[in-house]
Symmetry: C2
Subunit: 391 residues, 2 copies
């Protein structure tokens, strides 16, 4: 068996993700010397990152001490910034939500007013959780557009006018901690992978105002050459009846123009349905309204024609559908499955699992929290915490 | 800067790929102790895997000894098995071809007769290179169908009747060395990456009898959940004029049915051209024949419509087109570029490099040799060689 690293950060990771629960299990997993592991575990306990929580069972000799990640050793701020709303959560270091607050916004008001509202919500959520700015270890922010990950600046975001190159991390200077910013789809993909992640190849498809895809290769977000991997919303979709629909990108018949949230609303209005938002159409479908069901299922079929090609190419273990329109649930899934299973290669589709997110409205916040926690817990941060604890 | 591993296999890899050329550069690259590196280099020299080839320049003090990978310390057999022909090469341990031989075959004759022919060609190529069975360190085989990589057995290959589950490595038992078998497209992708590889995200598209794609993520072949990633030949392609073309898979209007080698020949015959093989059409296009140029360019456009979607999704650094039809060169490339640049997102296409292989007829053999060499040089093999040299 290949052994894993035995650095302090790696040991912490093994306990935090449940891969090891005692010093003995850490020794077995890493192949490192018992003394080395024990010394580092003691350091992590002194720094309040690990805790001893009692004794386990033993088949002879002294029973082992059970180790647990101390997820209460601080909190993170998770910000899910959308086109029309922002949701903020305070979570512990295992991404468990302690308080959450949301508010409608208009992203096109620009960074000034929107980030002021984010700041207000963060302070209120911290107060609601009974915590203060000093408890915040890291901030994670998901935004609806492309981001230069290393600087946290949006890069020519098409639906975020006024945000290009704005240094989003500066808005959180009061917390004196690292701030991580990524596009909402990559963040949602982390949220769907959950604590501990997965080593699978997964597509997380967000169907909201826009359509995007988080691409996960062996459990890690895949970004591509310019960081634009997963940008499936502007893939050209053939339309049998010769109809052309103009997309906001300037091309016609992009996936997003034919199957995004705005298109669903447009088609519902054209059919004479009494709705005023995409959410109304989704709610009608959830309650079994016939015409709404048929529209949502058609949206699923259109998305499925694109996913069928991607399944052949990428051969994922599973596809998770999330975002506002995913709250429609089964009718959307039925349309997607119909197109994917009908057009994909048998081998690639044989064991493919296609599901809707268990909590599409939460995956942005949970993902932003996980991005913040994992960023904070990387090697350098853990080393800093250990240095501070032992000096 | 992050340091790399300093295991004997890693040191060998650094020298072999040109990342380091002296003990001092290995120390700088790995961050390991000078004594550790020097001791391991001496072991690798004793085992005949590294050689000292003279002294470099110095800005003061004793000039460093230049290290070189001893690519003459054995040879590998590279087998490129196609539907209608097999090519075998004997290469040194840097994939330089020492001798190569090819012969027409019919893959549907089944493993018995085909592998007997492969065996005959291997013996003849070894003799031509002045080498014997004892010089062979590893064998690499590319086959035109899906393979279970760990066992070297084809898995329900659609165009290799009689080959399902056949243990291909057994055919090379006489060489008493490891045998690696993979599908031809993954093998060609290795060949296009070349010695030393690359850390880029690349698509290697093979356009031959069939159409397939080697998917390279950060320099490594990406296989997907069931190993079928890159199987783009059966992606459904919309046809504007309502034409339906039956594919050998049973569906209609698959990419392969509309733009594979057989489709090119069929369309040329329908246009009344005096050709009898796909190669004839490709040769006519290479020599500037108008109708052949137009057919090849149209094939490129059809392939490009599928690649445009994959460029948005995968955001590769580059695309390399290889296989028999790629020998047509520019007209194929022009059609592909027209469709990809016309339909991909500007960001993903901005710096995208699309090219045809420099030597499409060789990438299968070079890739099979690299697969064999890299398989042989993995940690375990290097350890075995060192153990044998010091015992």
């Amino acid at each position: 068996m290949a052994h894993s690293s035995a650095s302090p950060g790696a040991l912490l990771h093994h306990v935090r993700t449940g891969r090891a629960r005692s010093r003995a299990e850490l020794v077995a997993l890493t192949g490192a010397a018992r003394n080395t592991v024990s010394g580092r575990v003691d350091q992590l306990i002194a720094a309040n990152l690990l805790a001893e929580v009692g004794r386990g069972w033993s088949t002879g000799g002294r029973p082992p001490t059970i180790l647990e990640f101390n997820s209460g050793a601080g909190c993170v701020l998770a910000v899910d910034l959308g086109v029309t709303s922002v949701d903020v959560a305070v979570t512990d270091l295992s991404a468990r939500v302690r308080a959450t607050l949301g508010h409608p916004i208009d992203i096109s008001d620009g960074p000034g007013p929107v980030l002021a509202e984010v700041d207000r919500l963060c302070r209120a959520a911290l107060a609601e959780a009974g915590l203060g700015p000093d408890d915040v270890r890291a901030v994670g922010v998901g935004v609806p557009g492309p981001v230069e990950f290393s600087t946290g600046r949006p890069s020519h975001p098409p639906i975020m006018p006024g945000w290009h190159d704005h240094p989003i991390p500066d808005a959180f200077a009061a917390y004196d901690c690292p701030v991580f910013v990524d596009n909402d789809v990559n963040v949602m993909a982390l949220g769907e992978m959950g604590v501990g992640g997965s080593d699978q190849d997964v597509l997380v498809v967000k169907v909201g105002t826009g359509i995007g895809c988080g691409v996960v290769v062996e459990g890690r977000v895949y970004r591509g050459a310019q960081g634009s991997a997963g940008d499936i919303g502007h893939i050209h979709v053939p339309v049998a009846d010769g109809r052309t629909v103009l997309c906001r990108c300037g091309n016609v018949n992009c996936l997003e123009a034919l199957a995004g949230g705005a298109s669903l609303l447009r088609d519902a209005l054209a059919a004479g349905m009494a709705v005023s938002t995409t959410r109304d159409v989704v709610e009608l479908a959830r309650h079994g309204d016939g015409p709404a069901l048929e529209l949502v299922r058609g949206t699923g079929r259109t998305i499925g024609t694109v996913l069928a090609a991607l399944v052949n190419f990428f051969n994922p273990h599973r596809i998770v559908v999330t975002g506002g329109v995913a709250q429609a649930g089964l009718p959307l899934l039925a349309g997607i499955r119909e197109a994917v299973y009908g057009r994909s290669m048998p081998l690639a589709a044989r064991t493919l699992d296609i599901s809707v997110s268990q909590a599409p409205e939460m995956s942005g916040r949970v993902g932003a929290a996980l991005m913040a926690i994992e960023g904070w817990l990387d090697e350098d941060s853990v080393r800093d915490v250990l240095d501070a604890a032992t000096s």
